[in-house]
């Protein structure tokens, strides 16, 4: 580190938000100085209960970042410790201090590593700069949560969200959910990876992918970072295709690495690229979605649909989801926890489908036992692909707890 230059860049800095409408966040204003130690001013709606705890944590975070002399003013709106640590660290870094040092919150136990073909019916988007949505997200039971660093985060807050998301990956219990992070487009996304990969997200979503090379680069970077941090559990990749070119290259993108677990589509950007209006029945994106499903199948990965953005329209969501499943998608995104249940219902096989599949599987097993080459159910002959599909359906239904 060029100490001369670092010293020059030291300045006052702020991070986070406060105000009447802000919940579970805090605002930190930092004024570095040459002597005088740490001076804390704290206003908090929970100061009676956690004032001492916040002061103590502030000192500890500053110390771990090597900051000895500073005036720090905190407006706290009931933020949890992992948020407090993230906001202070952001302010410290914005002030030009604490370079290359992290102040990591206590780590909760990780859930089991994610399987490449696990159930991915629903993935709940959480804006990476809104900590209030993080803490209970897992309770609502989506198959995955996505901590988003891309479109839901203002360009000026990328650094702040990156640290907050990193802390959330360490400190927040997301239950049985797969933990996904949507990084920014490269090259900004590389900084995101450096921050989050050491905390073992299960899946990295790469936005606006048009060429397989973009995925390969991220894949390589993840590999390096995993080695450096000693991580040996899988971190899967889910490219998001959001343009006409991306759709045309979908198979190459999906098959570029064995770490790709699924491929998905972003319809807002895709329809904008086409210059068409996005409708609730998705006529305009039928080709793109069908092509994506085909590419995914050919590459042996899951095809996952976009989000349904009208969070108040549950009937529309249901229609979309049913159509989506019929096209071959295995899941879709959600913007609100209320969408999760409808999505799980629409992506589940119906009792009649399960029943039929169970009968086919039973008939197949019976034929196997009897050494028969031909499987039949009633008067109908059953072809091998039909048996295969029935077995897959029963397996999926089992994962969903339906069969």
């Amino acid at each position: 580190m060029a100490t001369e230059e670092t010293k020059k860049r030291v300045c006052c800095a702020e991070a986070g938000r406060w105000g009447q409408d802000v919940r579970s966040d805090l605002h930190v204003a930092l004024e570095p100085r040459d002597r005088g130690g740490v001076e804390i001013t704290l206003e908090s709606r929970v100061s009676l209960y956690y004032g001492d705890s916040i002061r103590g944590q502030t000192c500890q975070v500053l110390e771990s970042l090597g900051v000895r002399h500073v005036k720090i003013s905190i407006h706290d709106e009931g933020a949890l410790p992992f948020v407090i640590a993230a906001r202070i660290e952001t302010a410290v870094k914005r002030a030009g201090l604490g370079n290359e040092i992290k102040s990591l919150p206590e780590k909760v136990a990780l859930s089991a590593p994610s399987r490449r073909d696990r159930l991915r019916r629903s993935r709940l988007y959480l804006p990476g700069s809104e900590p209030k949505y993080f803490i209970n997200a897992g309770l609502h039971g989506p198959d995955a949560i996505i901590l988003d660093l891309e479109d839901s985060v203002h360009p000026a807050e990328k650094d702040s969200a990156r640290i907050l998301v990193r802390n959330a990956l360490r400190a927040v219990e997301f239950g049985a959910c797969e933990r996904m992070v949507r990084i920014n487009q490269l090259p900004l996304g590389l900084q995101d990876l450096a921050e989050v990969i050491p905390e073992s997200p299960d899946v990295v979503l790469i936005p606006k992918v048009e060429h397989p090379g973009q995925v390969a680069e991220v894949d390589r970077m993840i590999g390096e970072l995993k080695t450096r941090s000693g991580i040996n559990r899988p971190i899967w990749i889910m490219p998001i295709v959001e343009s006409a070119l991306g759709i045309e290259n979908a198979f190459a993108i999906a098959s570029v690495s064995s770490n790709v677990c699924a491929i998905t589509i972003g319809l807002e950007d895709y329809t904008a690229d086409l210059g068409v209006v996005k409708t609730s029945d998705g006529r305009e994106s039928f080709y793109a979605r069908a092509k994506l499903v085909n590419a995914a199948r050919a590459a042996g990965v899951q095809a996952i649909d976009s989000v349904f953005s009208d969070v108040g329209d549950m009937d529309g969501l249901r229609r979309w989801g049913e159509n989506s499943r019929a096209m071959g998608f295995e899941g879709m995104g959600c913007l609100h926890p209320a969408q999760i249940r409808v999505i799980h219902e629409t992506f589940a096989p119906s009792p009649a489908e399960i029943d039929k599949a169970l009968k086919i599987v039973a008939a197949f097993e019976e034929a196997q036992q009897k050494g028969l080459a031909v499987v039949s159910l009633g008067s109908k002959m059953i072809d091998p692909p039909v048996v295969e599909r029935a077995r897959n359906l029963v397996a999926r239904a089992n994962q969903m707890g339906k069969a």
Partner: protein, 520 residues
Amino acid sequence: MTDRIELVQNAAGRMVPALANGKPQIPYLGVGQYEPHGRKAAPPVRSSKDYPENGDKRVADLEAALRNCGLRDGMVISNHHHLRDGDSVALMALQAAARIGVKDLMWFPSASFPSQKGAIELMEAGTIHHIEGSMNGPLGEYATQGKMRGMGVLRSHGGRWQAIQDGEVHIDVAVIAAPTADAFGNADGSHGKSACGSLGFALADSIYADRVIVVTDHLVAFPCIPWQIQGNHVDFVVEVPSIGDPAKIVSGTTQITRSPDRLRIAEFVACFLRDAGIMRDGFSFQAGAGGIALAFVDYLRRLMKESGVKARFVRGGSTKYLVELLQEGLTDYILDGQTFDLDGVKSIAGDPRHVATSPFTSYNYHGKGNFASMVDAVVLGATEVDVNFNANVVTHSDGRLLHGIGGWQNCLAAKCTILAVPSFRDRIPVIVDEVTTLTGPGELIDVVATERGIAINPRRQDLIDALKGSNLPIRPIQDIKAEVERICGGKPARPKLGDRPVAVVKWVDGTVLDAVWQIG
């Protein structure tokens, strides 16, 4: 109030004042332990010869009416709160009393609202000595800071009836805001531009007060039908241009919560009633008008339809969600204590199956039974609940007055009492080691439902058994508490309360359950 107030320990282990506003208090003895005695209070005998034969009891204005009632220093003046934050009549009456020049009144509203903060000036000026009734917002702040000359007395709706009926509080003058009335004093709440639905909270005042004034902005020719308040109890009728702001009396529409966490709690509670076997043909329930309670009704309605189950009655606070149950034939009756929205008001005015009730029928503990204990399940809120299921509803966890007790304490008599609460608010855990202000004894609270799981009171082995096969996340209360403390970064520090009581919290039988202490 500079004298030291003698404190005694009650059966709940709480230190409470032995005296409140000069009256000796009985410390809480335990649920069902206090034996009342004596006869009910009664107003003086009156004669028709002193009232106009033509039935026209109108006087020019409130000031004249109060003079005619003989309002004097130190008297008790009462109001009801059916007009909620839109009420103009209470302050109108108190200000008229100030103009007459009387001092040291005890104001005895069935509840107070933030828009009545003008009462603070009247306390400062000496017109009001103290308030016995719920205080929140600015009035709560004033009382908690120890600025009120007398001691606040917080009672449940049923407890207020009990106190009036038992003669513990004698009302000298009751001023009753009436959305519709005739000149004889018959009054109704469900019609008129300021319609508020039921007038049940004013019923005790009309029966037991020495003098009764009805104030209306919608005078109709005799007879005012229906009459929720009987003119035979009424001394004077005053016509005014407006008794309140309709927009604040009832909400246009009551809104279900949109918070996914709160919706989750509401759904848990509805499923709990189903899985516990409480939701069955002919059952009954009560839920308030808070966001979680409304969502609960909506979920329960779906479950009732799914299972083809019908309720015999539901208890309001009515809202459009209860009204929909009635209209869809999912309940035979709404027994309504207060009416929260326009749909509720319309329904109570037009549907004979939507019936106005009073604290006497619903809640009064010193009666020959009441409806509350017949309700199968009630869903309530709370600011804090402890590991023994004791709950606080009147103060913030820092000890400042927050809510009135309302019907909350009375509802604890239901066969299954469920507190539906988030597990923490703003980093402050709701489940604590000990509640700041004890408002409800844990032995009456059966279930605490949070977004992280549902805790059943170990005293209710029957419910624990009934829920054995359920998919609901049933967890020990200590378990939920520990998880929340882990998330919140440790146990919260206990706020320091003052050592001077500023209010007492009465139990439903008139004994003192706890005290509220001066802060700041």
